[in-house]
Each structure stands twice: as structure tokens, then as C-alpha cells.
């Protein structure tokens, strides 16, 4: 609990972390040196059509697009089907969302091709469908497991229905919802490596190019970038959970 008072802001550290990682990605010549030491036999040790920084930024943009869609669609959907008015749609929503995840993203990518053409849009749609399940399932679970005595007290105190949702249900469901968002975003970030199959960018580009020309250095470059971003994202979202739910800290 003491860190709450001492540190300036708990999200400052992750922010600095992101800055450092992007600066690290920008050191193109450093990476070239490193990769040529690791793979002395490779003809071109680093992917040259695009800088590593740009690949990372493209990757983050695709992840952010799909992630934003997941949150903007998944959360309202979960809220709707847990209200009395939407309860009838709950099984339907659960099934559709589950099917979304069982479909391999690569297949969705190809199926989306006629609708979105080549480019990042198709990749974002496929990743959105793929990442919807954790957010919806966790949110449904979060609303279902709210303590009934707290809800009873809230109704007895005179919260109206919208007030109950905004001031009691959502804040209490937040930890589980955030855990779902975290799972989903990390999943999307890792899976976004398939985006180049339909002409999207990102860190998947050197991986797929490397596989095509049997250049292990390219693959390592992309894979390492993705792993670093995924770890950073997971850690940042963990910090965000702590900040948004101070009442649970120290448990």
C-alpha cells in the first residue's frame, strides 16, 4: 500500500518502459550488428524493406485497432445480455463469440479477403473476431458473480437502474473485465503476426519473408519484437488493473 503514496504515478513506469522499447527498436544499425554477429552466414541479416521501428508501430496499430473494436463491441454486448431486456440473447451471443474464437484467424483472414481486400483492414477484422471471446466471456462472468448482498443493499438504498450499473456493477466487475481485456489484447498482439498474409504490415512481415527465403535472422527479428511487445503489453495492463481497482490492492 505504501507505494501508492510514494511513487508519483503507478502508470509512469510502464510509460517509460514503452518509450525505452521504442527507442530500442529505432536503433536499426545496432540490430543489424547484433543479427549479423548471431547469424554470420546470413546474406542480409536484417530485413531492409522496412525499419524495425516502423514494423513495430504497424504491429501496434493493428493490435490497437482490433483491441479497440473488441472492447467497444464486446463490453456493451456483455452489458446488454446481462440486463433483463437482453437476457434472451445471452446464449446466442455466447455461441457466436465462441465460434469466433474456434475459427482459425488465418481462415478468417482468407474469408475476409473478398470483403476488405488486401491491407490491414481484413487483418483487423479477423483479429477482432478472434479476440472477442475472452472479453465477452469474462464480462459475462463478472456480472454474474457480483455479490448479491451488495446489489440488494444498493437497490435498497435507492440506486436507479442506470446508477446501479455505472456506480456499483461496472466498478465491481472491472477486475474480471480487465483480466479479459488483458488476455484478449495479448492474444491479438501475438496473432497479428499473420497479418502479412493478406497484405497487412507489422512484425509478421520479416517472419513470413524469412520463412519464404529460409532466412532465420528475419524470423528471429520479428519473433523477438513480438515477444518483447507482448510482455510489455501484459505488464502494462497488469499495472493498469492495479491502478483502476485500488480497493483490491494488498489482498
Amino acid at each position: 500500500m505504501s507505494w501508492r503514496e510514494k511513487s508519483p504515478h503507478p502508470l509512469l513506469v510502464p510509460l517509460v518502459g514503452w518509450g525505452l522499447v521504442l527507442v530500442l527498436f529505432a536503433q536499426q544499425s545496432f540490430w543489424q550488428g547484433l543479427l549479423s554477429t548471431l547469424f554470420p552466414s546470413a546474406r542480409s541479416p536484417i530485413f531492409e524493406r522496412e525499419t524495425l521501428l516502423n514494423l513495430a508501430l504497424q504491429h501496434l496499430a493493428i493490435t490497437a485497432g482490433a483491441g479497440a473494436l473488441v472492447i467497444l463491441v464486446g463490453l456493451p454486448l456483455a452489458i446488454f445480455v446481462t440486463r433483463p431486456a437482453g437476457a434472451a440473447f445471452r446464449p446466442l451471443a455466447e455461441n457466436i463469440v465462441a465460434v469466433g474464437q474456434t475459427f482459425p484467424p488465418v481462415a478468417v483472414l482468407v474469408l475476409a479477403l473478398p470483403f476488405f481486400g488486401f491491407g490491414s483492414a481484413g487483418a483487423v477484422m479477423a483479429l477482432f473476431l478472434y479476440g472477442l471471446l475472452p472479453v465477452v466471456r469474462n464480462s459475462l462472468e463478472a456480472f454474474a458473480s457480483l455479490p448479491s448482498d451488495v446489489l440488494d443493499a444498493a437497490r435498497g438504498m435507492g440506486y436507479s437502474r442506470p446508477q446501479l450499473l455505472w456506480r456499483v456493477e461496472l466498478p465491481l466487475a472491472l477486475p474480471v473485465i480487465l483480466a479479459g481485456i488483458r488476455t484478449s489484447l495479448v492474444l491479438i498482439l501475438a496473432t497479428a503476426t499473420v497479418a502479412p498474409l493478406v497484405g497487412g504490415g507489422g512484425l509478421g512481415v520479416p517472419i513470413i519473408a524469412g520463412l519464404a527465403v529460409s532466412n532465420l535472422a528475419f524470423v528471429v527479428q520479428g519473433a523477438f519484437g513480438v515477444a518483447l511487445l507482448a510482455l510489455l503489453l501484459d505488464w502494462t495492463l497488469g499495472r493498469l488493473e492495479l491502478t483502476l481497482t485500488p480497493w483490491r490492492n494488498g489482498r
Binding site: 455479490p147 451488495v150 435507492g158
Partner: protein, 314 residues
């Protein structure tokens, strides 16, 4: 004043309340007492419309509660439940001012009020205001629950086994404090409990219920002295005489000191029942009685207590 008029509550074929009529007078504490499943909680929840009865009408003052907006109605009624239901994501201070906030009070007024309320229930505001509910003991949480119910100064309080979930010594202390508070605030209180001792201790009147019906509605003294049905007699059990003693303040049975030095003493503020227990425990026929600072002010004799317990009329 709360008035129930022929309340019937049916769940399918089951009748949870079979036509209950009852009046809770202004400023009095009435307990709904009875075994589990007798309908006492259901009856309580019809007052703030958490349950709508199948038949019958509930009045607060002379207004039918169905004629009032349910959200407005609930904001005007204090509500305390056994599991307390504090909001875990709000600090103690925020919990206490929930209703004032819903009513749109200014922030300053709310916080002043919250501090007053915390002090009223015996929690020092500087220590407790910023804590989260998970950092409280059971007794402290229950005090916050009471402060929260009282914060907007509602004339009516509904309490559903509010002291049921704490350990016996804490429960007794909470009862004592609540009794003291109620003697100053004079709220109209409807209090659900299955604990006979608790009901006898705190009530102005007791409504003993069984299977959705009122068995007897009386003052604790009258209920204990003359149980009207065999159910009431069975529920009160063989210790009802002892319970009657708990309604009698010891100061009423006091006799002047007889000059002998008493071998045991007791505080004058306790009930006749505690004096009786002390006599039995010490194997004595009389006890010295002391005032608040420990000075001997009289004696109480076993014979006096026995006579008081068996008296037909007070």
C-alpha cells in the same frame, strides 16, 4: 408510522404471508420475530418495495407506498442487512454518504455528515474514513452499515438481522449502542431477528410470527407474561421468566444498604437478569450495588428478584 394492511404474498401455490396486518407506531422499535421461513424478512421488504405483495397495502404515514416512486421511496428509508453489503470499491466515507450523494447533497455537506455519522457509531473519522471495507472487522463493518443507513436522516429504518453475523460479545455491544442511539434518535424502526434475547432486549413491541401469520403482537413484558398461543409459549420456552428479568432495570429493585459489608457487588446500570446470574454464580442471597464510580448505593436481595420475576402485573 408504518402500517401493513392484510398483506398476502404468494409464490405459486405457496403463501409466504397470509394476510398480515400490523402497525408500527411513530418513533418505536418493533421487531419481527420468528423462526426461519416465517415470512418476517418478506414482510420487511414490502416496505421499501424490494418485494411487491400479491395482495394488501403498505402505508408509510398515510401514504400507500405503491403511489410513491420506488427509487425516491428507498432513498427515504434507512436499510441495514445482515451481510451489511458495504460497497467494496468505495471507502468507508464514500459508503456512508451513498444516499446523500444520490439525493444530490453538496460535497462539503456530505463529508461533514459522514464524519458526524462515523463519530455517532463510534468509529473515529480520521482512522476509518479512508479505509476500504475489506480492511474492517465484522463489528466495524456493521457500524459503517448503520452509519450509512442513518446518513440522510431517514425517519424510517429497516433492519434485517443487522447484528446476526457478528460474534456474541460484539453483538451485545452493538445492541447496547444501538439502543442508546435509538433512545436519542427515535426513528420508526422495523427490525427482523430470530433471536429472542435480542428482541426482548431492544424492542418497544414484538411481533411474533409463524408460517406467514402474526401469532402475537405485544410489548416484550406482555408477551413474556402472557403468551397467547401454544406456538408463542413453545417459542419463548422455559426461560421466559429469566427473560422478563432482563427487561427490569436493577435500579428499580434496589434497597438501602443494610450496614453489612457485601461480599460481592454489581453496577447499578445492569438488568435484574445479570444481578440474578451473579447471585447464582456466587451462591449468595444478596449483592451490593454500586454507582458509576464504585460507591455502594444499596443492596439487591434474591427474594426481591424472585418476586419481581413471578409478579403477575408490573
Amino acid at each position: 408510522m408504518i402500517r401493513f394492511k392484510s398483506i398476502v404474498m404468494r409464490y405459486g401455490g405457496f403463501e409466504a404471508l397470509k394476510g398480515v396486518s400490523l402497525e408500527v407506531p411513530e418513533g418505536q422499535l418493533v421487531t419481527l420475530l420468528g423462526p426461519s421461513g416465517c415470512g418476517k424478512t418478506t414482510l420487511l421488504r414490502t416496505v421499501n418495495r424490494l418485494i411487491e405483495p400479491t395482495e394488501g397495502t403498505v402505508f408509510i404515514g398515510d401514504r400507500d407506498v405503491r403511489g410513491l416512486d420506488e427509487v425516491e421511496l428507498r432513498r427515504g428509508i434507512g436499510y441495514v442487512i445482515q451481510s451489511i453489503g458495504l460497497f467494496p470499491h468505495m471507502s468507508v466515507l464514500e459508503n456512508v454518504v451513498v444516499v446523500p450523494r444520490l439525493l444530490g447533497w453538496k460535497k462539503e455537506k456530505r463529508e461533514t455528515r459522514a464524519r458526524e455519522m462515523l463519530a455517532l457509531v463510534g468509529l473515529e473519522p480520521p482512522t476509518f474514513a479512508g479505509r476500504y471495507p475489506r480492511e474492517l472487522s465484522g463489528g466495524q463493518a456493521q457500524r459503517v452499515g448503520l452509519a450509512r443507513a442513518l446518513a440522510a436522516d431517514p425517519p424510517v429504518l429497516l433492519m434485517d438481522e443487522p447484528f446476526g453475523a457478528v460474534d456474541p460479545p460484539t453483538r451485545e455491544r452493538l445492541q447496547d449502542e444501538f439502543q442508546k442511539l435509538q433512545s436519542e434518535l427515535r426513528k420508526t424502526v422495523l427490525f427482523v431477528t430470530h433471536d429472542l434475547d435480542e428482541a426482548v432486549k431492544i424492542s418497544d413491541r414484538i411481533c411474533l410470527m409463524s408460517l406467514g401469520q402474526v401469532e402475537q403482537y405485544d410489548t416484550p413484558e406482555a408477551l413474556l407474561r402472557s403468551p397467547r398461543t401454544s406456538f408463542v409459549q413453545g417459542f419463548l420456552g422455559p426461560s421466559r421468566t429469566l427473560l422478563r428479568l432482563s427487561r427490569i432495570p436493577l435500579s428499580r429493585l434496589l434497597e438501602p444498604p443494610d450496614g453489612h459489608h457485601p461480599s460481592a457487588t454489581i453496577q447499578h446500570s445492569v438488568s435484574a437478569r445479570e444481578a440474578f446470574s451473579s447471585l447464582l454464580a456466587n451462591g449468595l442471597r444478596s449483592l451490593g450495588v454500586t454507582d458509576d464510580v464504585g460507591l455502594l448505593i444499596g443492596v439487591v436481595r434474591l427474594e426481591t428478584l424472585l418476586a419481581a420475576a413471578s409478579e403477575e402485573e408490573p
